[in-house]
Each structure stands twice: as C-alpha cells, then as structure tokens.
C-alpha cells in the first residue's frame, strides 16, 4: 500500500483511531444511561416512526382503559340504585297485598299509605344517585337531578345516552333509561298522570289506600307486578353493560401487554449486548491510547549515538 510512512501520518492515524473509539464509546454510553437504543430519530428513522405510532396506540389504549373504569363505576352506581329501588317496590308490594285482603282498618290503611309515600320519596332519591358528581339517571343531562322530592314527580332529565369509548370506533352507552320504568307519576298531588308506569302505579296505590278501596288495590297489584318486571329487565340490562365493560377491560390489557412488548423491542437497548459492546469498546480505546503513548515516541534518533 503506502510506501513512505511519516511521523505526521502516524500521529494523525493514532489520533483518528482514538477519536473514533471515543465516539463509539460515547454512543454506547448514551444507550446505557438512557436504556434506549433510539435516542434521536437519526439513530433509527423507521424505528422512530414505529415508536411514535406505538406510543399513540398505547395512549389510546390507556384512554380506553380509563373510560372502561369510569364506565364501570357509572353503571355500578346505577346497579346499586336499581336494587335499592327494587327492594322499596317489593316492600310496597307487601303493604299492598296486606291492604287488599280487606281485613285492615281505615287507620291501618292510612298508615300504610303514609309508608308508601315515604317509599316513593326514597325511590326518587335513589333515582337521583350521582357518580363522580353526575346524575346517572338523567340521560345525557348529567348535571340535572332527574326527580325532585315532594308531590311533583315530573322527570327533569332527557332521553340522551351517556357513552364511553371502549375501543377503536366502539362506544357503549353506560346509562340506564330509568324514566321508561318510573314514568311521571303525578305532577300535582292526587292527580296521577295515567301513563301506567311505576310511579303512577305507586301514587295510585297510595291514593287507593287513603280511600280504603281494596278492589282498586287489587287491580293496582296487577299493574305493580308488570312494573316490577320492567324494573328487573332494566337491572338485567345494566348487568349486561357491566359484563361488556369487563370483557373490554380484559381485551385492552392483552393489547397493552403486546404493544408494550413491541415498543420495548423497538426502542429499548438490549442491555446485555450493550454492556458487552461497552467493555469491548473501552478495551479498544485503552489499547489505542497505549499504542499512541508508546509507538509515536520512537524514531531513528533513539538509536543513533550523539556523535552520529
């Protein structure tokens, strides 16, 4: 190859060798200290693209996961309220059965009517259940209480849905339409709305107990058991929603695990092999430095006598 070797060449080559050894060592050290093989886009442009889109996917999944948790809490609150309402209705059913068999005194009947009225208030209160400051039975008008206590039973919410996004283009309504079961009841005392729904029936029962009409109470019983059926149906719907949320949660966790794996494979440094490269490069640098220190000093002058 090259014929003549000069001292400047040796010095330059030694310096270039040390510099490139140091440069490689610096890159490896950066990988080791950050634990990532991609520290800037130029380290691996296509890997960077994958990293960025995996990050977005993971952020999406984490958002779905948050929404599933939130939706579960939402329907959990609805489910609890519905079972309280069911208990109250069952108590009213007992009271009505006792009143309808014609053995009670007027005073007993009136006392029962009193209790029924209290239970109606309790049901409306359950319907006003909140989750995280939102009324769960108001449709999408979550800042409005659906019912007021007192004799006015009119529904203040709407029929909108509250949805949670639990997957790409997958939304799930997490609210239950309680108004379709409760109805309007009455707007003024003693004047039932006549929609045949639960509150209406309960107001009828209360009125009929007040007037002591056991015949009317008997037909109220039939209406009440129909209402109770639709209440049970609504509870079942809420249960189904909870099941779907549970399944979505499992699916999201699986996807999160596999996406995290892909991300880690792309951007994380393989510590074992990086450590090994690091020691190899360090050894190379030390060798280059030693060579520079010992070889460059030698020349013919070291071996010539001073007299020539």
């Amino acid at each position: 190859m090259i014929g003549r070797i000069t001292q400047q060449m040796t010095a330059q080559n030694t310096l270039a060798g040390i510099e490139s050894a140091l440069d490689r060592l610096d890159t490896t050290q950066q990988e080791l200290s950050t634990g990532k093989s991609i520290n800037q886009p130029s380290d691996n442009p296509s890997g960077t693209a994958l990293t960025l889109s995996m990050n977005t996917q993971l952020a999406d999944l984490s958002s779905y996961s948050n929404q599933v948790t939130d939706g579960t809490g939402y329907s959990q609150a609805a489910s609890t309220a519905l079972s309280d309402i069911t208990n109250a209705v069952q108590r009213i059913q007992e009271l009505t059965t006792e009143a309808a068999n014609g053995t009670q005194t007027t005073a007993d009947m009136q006392a029962s009517a009193q209790e029924v009225n209290q239970l109606i208030d309790e049901i409306k209160q359950d319907a006003n259940t909140q989750y995280d400051g939102q009324y769960v039975f108001s449709g999408s008008a979550t800042s409005t209480a659906p019912y007021q206590s007192g004799s006015n039973d009119s529904y203040a919410g709407n029929s909108g849905q509250v949805t949670r996004t639990i997957g790409p283009n997958t939304t799930l309504a997490v609210n239950a339409n309680l108004e379709s079961v409760l109805g309007t009841g009455q707007t003024t005392s003693g004047q039932p709305a006549g929609d045949g729904l639960l509150l209406n029936t309960l107001r009828n029962i209360s009125d009929d107990m007040q007037s002591g009409s056991s015949t009317a109470l008997n037909s109220d019983m039939t209406a009440l058991s129909t209402n109770l059926n639709s209440l049970t149906g609504l509870s079942a719907n809420v249960g189904a929603t909870q099941d779907r949320l549970q399944m979505a949660s499992t699916r999201i966790q699986t996807l999160q695990a596999s996406d995290t794996q892909v991300l880690s494979n792309t951007q994380d440094a393989d510590m074992a092999s990086t450590e090994i490269s690091y020691s190899t490069q360090q050894a190379a640098l030390t060798a280059a430095l030693q060579a520079g220190a010992s070889i460059v000093q030698q020349s013919l002058m070291n071996f010539l006598g001073t007299s020539g």
Partner: protein, 458 residues
C-alpha cells in the same frame, strides 16, 4: 598533455558544496516536519560536464574525459498534484456533509423526539387524555381546564418549533453571507491570497528561482478554499494557477472551459462566482448552506421542514375544528377550538378560553375530537420526524465516509510530500559522510602538493 594541477581541489570543493546543500535541505525538512502543508524538498544533483584531455596516455597517446565534480541543479519540492485535486474534492464533500449534519442535527434536537415532551407525546396527551376526560365528564371544570391547557401546550410547541426552524434558516443565511462577503468573506480572502501568490511565484520563476515555499503556501490556501465549494485548478506555463469555483469548477472538471475563473492569474472575479446559480447545488459548505436554506428563492431543506410543520398545524386545526362542528347539537354552533393555519400562528381560540362555560363543548363534540387520536395530523408529523431522522442519519453517514476517505488521501499525500524523520536522519548520516570524504580528498591533495613543494625546496 597533463592534468590541470588544481582541478582535484575544485572537484572536491563541488562535492563539499553538494553535501552541504543536502545537509542544509535535510535541516529544512526536519525543521518543517510538523508544518501543515509543507512539502519535503530534495536537492537535485547532476554530474558536472567532463574535461576532455587529448593524448592523456603517454603510452598510446589516447585522450580521455576527466570528471570535474558535481553540480547542484535545483532544490525542488516533492508533490503529487493529482493527489492534491483528489484531496480537495474530498475536502469539499466532507465539509458539505459536515455543514448539513450540524444544522440538521440542530433541527432534529429541536423536535425532541422520541420523548414525552415532544409534539408527538403532547398530541397523545391532548387527544387520549384531555379530550377523552372531557367526553366522560363534560361538566367537570378540571376536564375543561385540562383541554384548554393542553391545547395551549400543543399550540406553543408548534409555535416554538416553527420559530426554531426560522432561527436556523436565519443562521444559515447569515453564515452564507459572512463567507461570501466580497470584502471580508473567507472566499474573497482566499482568492486574493492565491492571486497575490500567483504574482510572486511568476516573478520568481521568471528569475529562474524555484519558489517552493510560495507554492506550498498557495496549495495550502487552495486546500482551504476547497472547503467552501468545488475547486478546479489549472497551472499556466508561467507558474500561475487559474482556480475555478463552484458549479463552474464541476463543469471545468468535465472539460468545459471556464470563461470567468475565480482566480485568473493575478486578478480575482468574485461577482461572477459568488452567485446563487454558481453555488446552488455545488458541494462544500456554501453549496450545503444553499441546499439547507436559500434566502434568494426561499427554498431548501429547512423550508421544506417548515412547510411540513405548517401542514401538521393546519391538519390539526382543521380536523379538530371540523370534528367539533360535525358533532354540534342540532341548531347549536360551538366555537372552533383552534385558530390559525400555520405552525407559527396556531393558537387556542380566545372565544373558547373566554367562554363562561369553558370550553363550551358537549360530550358528543369532545368524543368526536378524542376519536381523532392517531389521525392525519399525527401521521403527517410522524412522517416528518422520520424524514428529519433519515436526513440527519444520511448526512452523518456521508460525513463519516468522506472523513475516512479524506484521511486516506491525506495519508497518501503525506506519504509523498511529508517529512519522515527516520529518512532525514539516514540522509543526514549519508550526506555527513559524503562531506567528510570530500574533505578528506581535499586534505590528500593538499598533502600531495606539500610533499612535492617540500621536495623542491629541500
């Protein structure tokens, strides 16, 4: 016929002189062993023309030619001009790549990717965290502030990126203007030095002198000039060089005559050479700077980056705003979230921040925005980041490759022109002994005469 009496002394003297010149030159080489751009020198010796003596032989009467010593013809530098032009070509490439990689690395660093603080992470948070929360709890003041705050952070990041790219464009322009300044610029300074040295070298050559150190200086200046753009050097018979610069040099290398070289003998032509058309697309620092950002045309790699960033900002504003208006409740019109269509001007709509129910968006609108996660704006931005990364990586690779080629050529040049101390030491011994031998010849001749004269006087 007889041999001239003192001829031997003259012959020995020429040997002494030759050895002394060689020792002096060796000394010069050793002194300049580490001088950048120094070419080792050598003393060219020739045999002095003989003296013909007719009928030298007393027996046969034949004549003969008699050696008369040695002549120092010249002291010349050892240099390979082919390696010079290879070195300069590679120097041009290396400096161009190094300029690109420095500036592009700065653009890449401004992006701060991949990290959670870069725009990509900001957009992820914006869509999947803040808008999704607002969709779940549209009446929560915390969620509302989250959307506005993160929206402002996204807009700020885009504004900052845009201004950083503009700053880089400004830096590139100012660096280019500094280098090409006709009175103080580095190119003008190099060109003037070459022209001046041309004049001095031509003068020396007319007087029959080898201007070794002036030529070394001139080669050094041309090496320096080659970092700015391509150069092509042609040597005239009077020792001057003509230097073509930029695209004209590339054309000249391909055989086209350059009518307006940068240096023509002792005159310098900056107006025809430091032009956009002559430098744009050429190599070297100047060519790279114009490729990064050309203030005359407003084009270049950095300008492309700016416009890609503008596209990201525009797509972001458009998709978010149209997602909101697309999900408006019947009869209602929510205000657009972003204003502005470029990376420099994008901002959160003041109407949104000022609204009493801020931001005035329904769950349906928030849902529509949240579902934009991973949409066109993010895809465009990811592609942009990937492109910047590839550009930096390819500039760095070119730089590494040209750097090692430059070192290789530099080594070859050193191999030809560089001073080897071992070699000089060997020469020194050789020349010293030649000097001692010539001196011994002189002493011997002196002794011979002394004994002859002694005989006569005795």
């Amino acid at each position: 016929m007889t041999i001239p009496t003192y001829m031997g002394l003259q012959t020995a003297l020429s040997g002494l002189e030759a050895a002394q010149a060689a020792i002096d030159t060796t000394g010069q080489n050793i002194s300049n062993a580490n001088t950048p751009g120094y070419s080792r020198q050598t003393v060219n010796l020739t045999e002095r023309s003989e003296l013909t003596i007719p009928a030298l032989s007393s027996v046969t009467g034949d004549g003969s030619q008699f050696g008369t010593g040695v002549d120092i013809t010249s002291i010349t530098r050892i240099r390979d001009t082919f390696l010079d032009s290879q070195y300069r070509d590679q120097n041009t490439t290396e400096n161009g790549a190094s300029t690109s990689s420095t500036i592009l690395s700065q653009a890449q660093a401004a992006l701060d990717e991949p990290s959670s603080s870069g725009l990509s992470g900001q957009l992820d948070t914006f869509f999947t965290d803040d808008w999704a929360s607002l969709a779940s709890t549209p009446s929560s003041a915390g969620a509302q502030q989250g959307v506005i705050g993160q929206g402002q952070a996204v807009a700020d990041t885009l504004n900052t990126l845009s201004s950083q790219l503009s700053t880089l464009e400004g830096q590139v322009t100012s660096q280019y203007n500094t280098l090409t300044d006709p009175s103080t610029g580095a190119v003008a300074s190099d060109a003037n030095q070459i022209a001046q040295l041309n004049g001095q070298i031509a003068q020396a050559q007319a007087a029959g002198i080898n201007a070794n150190s002036l030529e070394d200086q001139r080669d050094n200046v041309i090496d320096d000039l080659s970092q700015y753009s391509n150069v092509n050097v042609t040597t005239e018979s009077n020792g001057m060089v003509n230097v073509s610069f930029g695209n004209a040099a590339i054309a000249a290398q391909n055989g086209t005559t350059d009518a307006t070289p940068l240096v023509n003998g002792t005159s310098v032509d900056l107006t025809d050479n430091l032009t956009d058309s002559n430098l744009s697309g050429s190599g070297g620092t100047l060519g790279s700077l114009l490729g990064l950002y050309d203030s005359t045309t407003g084009q270049g790699q950095l300008a492309t980056y700016s416009s890609q960033l503008d596209t990201v900002a525009n797509q972001l504003a458009t998709t978010v705003n149209s997602a909101i208006s697309g999900a408006d409740a019947a009869g209602a019109t929510a205000p657009p979230f972003f204003t502005g269509t470029t990376a420099a001007t994008i901002a959160v709509n003041p109407a949104v921040t000022a609204s009493s129910t801020n931001p005035p968006y329904t769950a349906a609108e928030a849902n529509a925005v949240a579902s934009l996660s991973g949409g066109t704006a993010q895809q465009t931005y990811n592609a942009f980041v990937t492109q910047v990364g590839s550009d930096v990586s390819s500039a760095q690779n070119t730089q590494t490759t040209s750097q090692s080629l430059l070192t290789a050529i530099s080594n070859q040049r050193q191999s030809v022109s560089g001073v080897s101390l071992d070699e000089e030491m060997t020469n020194l011994i050789q020349y010293q002994q030649a000097y001692q031998a010539s001196a011994r010849v002189m002493t011997t001749i002196n002794d011979t005469f002394t004994s002859l004269l002694g005989m006569l006087s005795g």
